[in-house]
Subunit: 221 residues, 2 copies
Amino acid sequence: MRTNIFMNKNILILYSGGMDSSVALYKYASEIRLAVSFDYGSKHNRKELEIAASNCRELGIEHQIIELDLNKMGFVSDLLLSGKEIPDGHYEEENMKKTVVPFRNGIMLSICAGIAESLDCKRLIITNHAGDHVIYPDCREEFITNMNKAVKSGTSNQVEIFAPFTMMTKREIALIGKEINVPFENTYSCYKGGKIHCGLCGTCIERKEALDGFDPTAYLA
Amino acid sequence: MRTNIFMNKNILILYSGGMDSSVALYKYASEIRLAVSFDYGSKHNRKELEIAASNCRELGIEHQIIELDLNKMGFVSDLLLSGKEIPDGHYEEENMKKTVVPFRNGIMLSICAGIAESLDCKRLIITNHAGDHVIYPDCREEFITNMNKAVKSGTSNQVEIFAPFTMMTKREIALIGKEINVPFENTYSCYKGGKIHCGLCGTCIERKEALDGFDPTAYLA
């Protein structure tokens, strides 16, 4: 277990176990009070959650998993267990829009804002990045700016959203991770949720591009 | 069952079964596609939910109940089952702050925004009002304005939040309800969740003041 400085821990991080949020988890570890993962009923969630738990254990960070079954609530998305098959192809292509989970980041940020207020945490980290902007409205700078104002004005301790990677590419995030020795082999991206990364879905293709030259991932294709 | 006009139904309403949201339910009934209630683990929730379901049946409006147990997620509030006893007294008093559920409106609006996008609903009604402003940051105009921008920019069909009572007093809402014959005897406000309104908690006192002169409610005190 790495050593943490047990002071100034006022960050709550939205942590999926994917490569972007893992880079932030390792980068801000000493300030993190709680890492929160959501089991929201997607096809790949369970695999991600195991990875998320193991990185938190490694860093000695408290980890909370929230069950929020969006399938039961009538959400429509191919990313969910109730959806159709995950399409292959690049992330920015039209057919990937079917994998959008409506307002997912807004929902997760809102629940985390309430937990942050309960724990008197002042900052809430989310790791959206520039590559998400094309198809995900709730990953864009405009949304983050507005949501930050909503959370700040709607909590009594004025929780702030900190989205450090909003204007970065996934490659740039990967390079930060390489610099601070993030164990990328222990992060998970595949939307299909298999034991081994499929290598063909949008997130796998993005992951390959980002980690090019130092990719420890085993892919099926 | 009242008659609805089955066209232009593009409103999703956040509906608790309380008097304010019941006034909006009756006022906008012909445009409502879905009413959503949350079972979020409060002391009074279950009683409210029965009332909510019965008003939706009466109006022929589809009703969805979402289970979201905030107790399990680590939320701290005396309104929740995990909290301490509900204090008696006026709504605006200091001790009522303990009944605030952190960012509750933000959480419910976010989940409803995702459902609204899934159903292609364009408007999302919430019935916060001026009397809530003192102790609830997520009932104030500033929060609603910011949250509206967040939801609009974070959904692909640009869902809008419509909060018609933001600047009204509960008395003014009650008068609108009287005008359109809202069955106030079939609405529920008490934070203690008993079969009969306690008449002493903050919401009961507010309810009495608002319905003064035409109050069909039976109170214990």
